[in-house]
């Protein structure tokens, strides 16, 4: 499926998705409550069949967090980027997609560890790179650590 057809298809599935111009991949901002249902559809639908989530990352946008999903269909050779925005910083939470793509389990733990975005229904949400007793989430823009960080 080429980019134009993919755009039409996604906008047909989620009417209030926001399309963003991007040179490499078609990119959409999806409302958080519709993400999980859309992800199931993307995986199951035979002419979409996104069977490979090749990156899941988190971005601190100061007022909210963004979780970015890069996915690909290994059979149909097309790629797609979806973004989900959390409502606020304090109780940032997004539905997990690790029941759809197993690889998301570790990616989501990483985002949780470094940014503090919670993933609803995640089976094992705990710290990934840092120690269990670490306080705070170091990739947040407002993270301060007087002891370890030497400011330049």
């Amino acid at each position: 499926m080429d980019k134009a057809a993919l755009k039409e298809r996604i906008l047909g599935l989620v009417t209030d998705a926001e399309f963003q111009e991007n040179k490499q991949f078609p990119m959409f901002v999806i409302p958080p409550d519709k993400m999980h249902a859309l992800a199931v559809r993307l995986k199951e639908d035979p002419d979409l069949s996104f069977d490979y989530l090749f990156c899941l990352s988190g971005v601190d946008m100061l007022k909210y967090f963004e979780v970015v999903y890069h996915m690909e269909s290994t059979t149909l050779q097309h790629q797609l980027v979806l973004k989900v925005r959390t409502a606020d910083r304090e109780n940032a939470a997004v539905d997990t997609v690790c029941d759809i793509w197993r690889t998301a389990e570790l990616h989501e733990r990483e985002v949780y560890d470094l940014l503090g975005v919670k993933f609803n229904n995640h089976p094992d949400l705990r710290r990934f790179f840092l120690e269990e007793n670490w306080k705070g989430h170091p990739l947040r823009k407002d993270y301060v650590d007087e002891v370890n960080i030497v400011e330049l």
Partner: protein, 178 residues
């Protein structure tokens, strides 16, 4: 490199304890010759310096020529640990444990900017040890990011000079380094 340049660090030889009779100094010479020419490094590397370390061991540079020979996968068989790469707070206890498991006499080479001082991660970093000498005593520092194999060879040969200073009357022990 000229021999004179290699020997420009004269303080190293000043460490050598003077005295000793002909038997002890002859035994020392034999022991130091044997020990310094069969330094076995531990297979331990954490990042890009590892690639340079592998290149140093590979045929083009081949540090087996200088007696730093086979990589050992067990710390119990290794003489020297080359800390090649960034040590994070989470990795530091592992490094310390590996170092503690090595048998005396044991040596440490801090290879690359990260192991020397934290390197590119010195500023604005929340989880990196600023220099591996906070964790284990270091014998030779090899700067560079990453150091070329020639630099590591130079560092290894400086370590061999250091090994040759030892005497059987006062063997090197880790507790004496503190």
């Amino acid at each position: 490199m000229k021999e004179a340049d290699f020997r420009d660090n004269e303080t190293l030889e000043l460490f050598k304890k003077s005295g000793g009779n002909i038997i002890i100094s002859t035994l020392d010479a034999i022991m130091d010759w044997g020990r310094s020419n069969s330094l076995w490094p531990l297979t331990f590397a954490t990042s890009c310096c590892a690639i340079e370390m592998m290149a140093t061991g590979a045929p083009r540079h081949d540090f087996a020529r200088f007696g730093i020979e086979v990589y050992r996968a067990s710390p119990r068989q290794a003489d020297v640990i080359v800390v090649a790469g960034t040590i994070t707070n989470k990795m530091a206890p592992v490094l310390k444990r590996l170092y503690d498991q090595m048998a005396d006499p044991k040596y440490v080479i801090a290879m690359g900017a990260c192991a020397v001082s934290g390197g590119p991660f010195y500023y604005n970093s929340y989880h990196v040890i600023r220099g591996v000498d906070h964790v284990v005593p270091v014998d030779v520092y090899v700067p560079g990011c990453p150091p070329r194999p020639e630099s590591l060879l130079y560092g290894v040969m400086q370590l061999q000079r250091k090994v040759k200073l030892e005497t059987i009357t006062s063997p090197r022990k880790t507790e004496n380094l503190k």
